[in-house]
């Protein structure tokens, strides 16, 4: 056993450490000013060690909470029902609207087509998706998956800059050498989980887990992105000219002429 002096020093450090952790875990979502001050004082130390993620919400210490439309509705209907830990990573799921897979799609001019046209863009496009489904191993996929999820979450608000959506879109444009000043459509869509009824449904299209059930207008994440003459990414929530997102519940013609709803109802519980 170490000497008394060493034990005293270690005990003091243990107290500081557990106080910091306790303040983070218990007070991270508290609205009390005292609680906020209590958790801010040791906050930097935990932040540097990346131990500032509370296991309740999965949110980092000192994060700014931007309520999403669903949050706002929950708060309006029942303020006490707005829990500390919604959409937390360590929930694994709460069966909520954001507990599903998100994908960022960027429609870029087909590079081969551009080359054939001598560098002129004439509307021919291809779609780049982040994450691509065939990325292996799963740990790599998970990073793109998390990024798309974060982009969707952060961009659910009109008054929040589309930081990550712009970052991903700009990266895709640069990666594919898309010429400057060509507006490209970027959007986020989600892949809903299926209910047990859908999995057991006799109709194969209902059972299909890759059925996009998209676009998802309630998230409203789409817009136009382009690289300006300086190579900076410019994002606008308006769509490129002559491209307007179909309204919720609208119908779109399928190749065989039939009409199918663009946005089927969300699965129960989601």
């Amino acid at each position: 056993m170490p000497s008394q002096n060493v034990r005293t020093a270690i005990n003091f450090l243990l107290f500081v450490h557990f106080f910091s952790l306790g303040a983070l875990l218990v007070l991270n979502h508290s609205s009390s000013e005292l609680a906020q001050k209590l958790r801010r004082i040791p906050g930097y130390y935990l932040q540097v060690l990346f131990m500032d993620i509370d296991f309740d919400s999965g949110q980092p210490f000192r994060h700014r909470r931007y309520p999403l439309p669903e949050d706002a509705m929950a708060e309006r209907d029942n303020p006490r029902d707005l829990p500390r830990g919604r959409r937390g990573r360590y929930h694994l799921t709460q069966g909520e609207v954001y507990d599903c897979a998100f994908f960022v799609e960027v429609e870029i001019p087909d590079p081969i087509y551009i080359q054939q046209r001598g560098g002129n863009y004439d509307g021919e496009r291809r779609v780049v998706t982040v994450p691509e489904l065939d990325i292996n191993p799963k740990q790599r996929y998970l990073r793109y998956h998390t990024l798309a999820w974060e982009a969707a979450r952060l961009n659910g608000q009109e008054d929040v800059d589309p930081i990550l959506l712009g970052g991903i879109g700009g990266g895709v444009l640069r990666e594919h050498n898309v010429p400057r000043n060509i507006p490209c459509r970027v959007r986020v869509w989600r892949l809903l989980s299926r209910s047990p009824e859908q999995v057991l449904h006799p109709d194969e299209s209902v059972r299909d887990k890759w059925n996009k059930r998209a676009p998802q207008p309630d998230i409203g994440l789409e817009g136009t992105i382009f690289l300006d003459r300086n190579g900076n990414v410019q994002f606008s929530r308006s769509l490129p000219v002559n491209e307007v997102a179909p309204p919720p519940g609208s119908v779109a013609p399928t190749p065989d002429g039939a009409e199918t709803p663009e946005t089927p109802a969300a699965a129960p519980g989601v």
Partner: protein, 372 residues
């Protein structure tokens, strides 16, 4: 025999009794002091007894083999994380990628109140400008992690490994998921204790030198040197892990505005029915809703009971045994295999050091046979 060897060591096989005594009786996987303390305790005041208990809990020396195993396995997971990241360095950290420095700064400014001091300054990746610099730094970092995993120069490489991992996490926290905070926690604690005192190249080199100094025969075993530093670190891991379970459980039962799927028994369905993440398709359970209920409540029950029962000597092996299939199944169902792996690695802090020492000796003897 050198003076250093005389002062530091443990010598012959019979000294192995020391090890047996140190790890024979256990409190949460760690040794407790003997009867003398207990007898003494009866004459002490309540406060003094509490102090004794506190000192016993935190400072009784224990076999560092547990820490060695945790270091080895944590290092393997960290290496795997970095190896998978090597494919996407340009995408995530390159100036032309998805998350150039400007995007990360904007994200910090919008999302986290850093008090005007972005965490990016704590990441050396923020100062690398070209893909070549990034790649070089990444592979050097992998080398350091490899040394840490093997347990070479562990005191230095453990700190460097933590800095390396934190640099990646701080540079792009938006691509971190469940595993990274747990890895950061384990690696930080490993820096504080004698993580290289066992199951490491450092320990092997030290033992070889001692054997040469003491002129021991190969069949003569060296006694284990218990360390109080190992106890402190293991206790930190144990308590942090229990805090994780408590918070994860509370988060699940606290519910959401749309209703609580965990208390309704349907949460595991929404986990296994995610279209892109599961490694194994469990959606056939749609035909057996009772099994989904059972799985959901089993996860809840486990997370509620683990932090309570794992401190009980009799129930500890049961909780640890249950944790293995639970995390394996969760890993397969969620696709979060590294997360499941680090949770199991963290659980090693509760495992009896004598058992882990036996595993290590078994590995060594098999290796020696293979070498022969």
């Amino acid at each position: 025999m050198s003076a250093q060897a005389q002062s530091k060591t443990p010598v012959r096989a019979q000294n192995a009794k020391t090890h047996g005594a140190a790890s024979g009786s256990h409190d949460a996987g760690l040794p407790v002091v003997g009867a003398s303390h207990a007898a003494l305790g009866s004459d002490l005041s309540w406060a003094e007894q509490m102090g004794e208990c506190w000192n016993r809990f935190w400072f009784t020396a224990t076999d560092p083999v547990t820490l060695g195993w945790i270091r080895l396995l944590t290092g393997v997971v960290a290496l795997y994380l970095q190896l998978t990241l090597a494919f996407d360095l340009g995408h995530f950290f390159g100036p032309e990628g998805y998350l150039p420095l400007r995007t990360s700064i904007d994200w910090y400014e919008w999302f986290i109140d850093t008090g005007g001091e972005p965490m990016l300054k704590y990441s050396y990746l923020s100062y690398l400008r070209t893909p070549g610099q990034l790649a070089a730094a990444h592979w050097i970092g992998m080398g350091v992690l490899l040394l840490f995993t093997a347990g070479l120069f562990t005191r230095v490489t453990s700190v460097l490994s933590l800095i390396i991992m934190l640099s990646y996490f701080h540079r792009a926290p938006m691509i971190t998921a469940q595993v990274e905070p747990i890895i950061a926690m384990l690696m930080f604690y490993l820096c504080l204790g004698p993580a290289g005192a066992a199951v490491s190249v450092d320990a092997w080199l030290r033992e070889r030198k001692l054997r040469a100094d003491l002129r021991l025969k190969p069949e003569e075993a060296l006694a284990v040197q218990p360390r109080w530093g190992a106890t402190v670190v293991l206790r930190l891991i144990q308590i942090h892990l229990c805090a994780f379970y408590v918070m994860a459980f509370l988060a699940k039962v606290s519910g959401g505005g749309l209703g609580n799927v965990w208390l309704r028994g349907e949460a595991m369905w929404w986990v296994i029915s995610e279209p892109d993440m599961p490694l194994v398709d469990f959606t056939w359970l749609a035909r057996f809703p009772v099994l989904i209920d059972v799985w959901t409540f089993a996860v809840l029950l486990f997370e509620a009971l683990f932090p309570l029962l794992v401190w009980n000597r009799l129930l500890r092996p049961i909780m640890l045994a249950i944790s293995v299939p639970m995390w394996i199944l969760l890993g397969l169902a969620t696709g979060l295999t590294t997360y499941a792996a680090v949770m199991l690695i963290g659980g090693l802090a509760f495992v009896d050091p004598a058992w882990l020492r036996g595993c290590w000796q078994c590995c060594r003897s098999k290796f020696a046979k293979a070498e022969a």
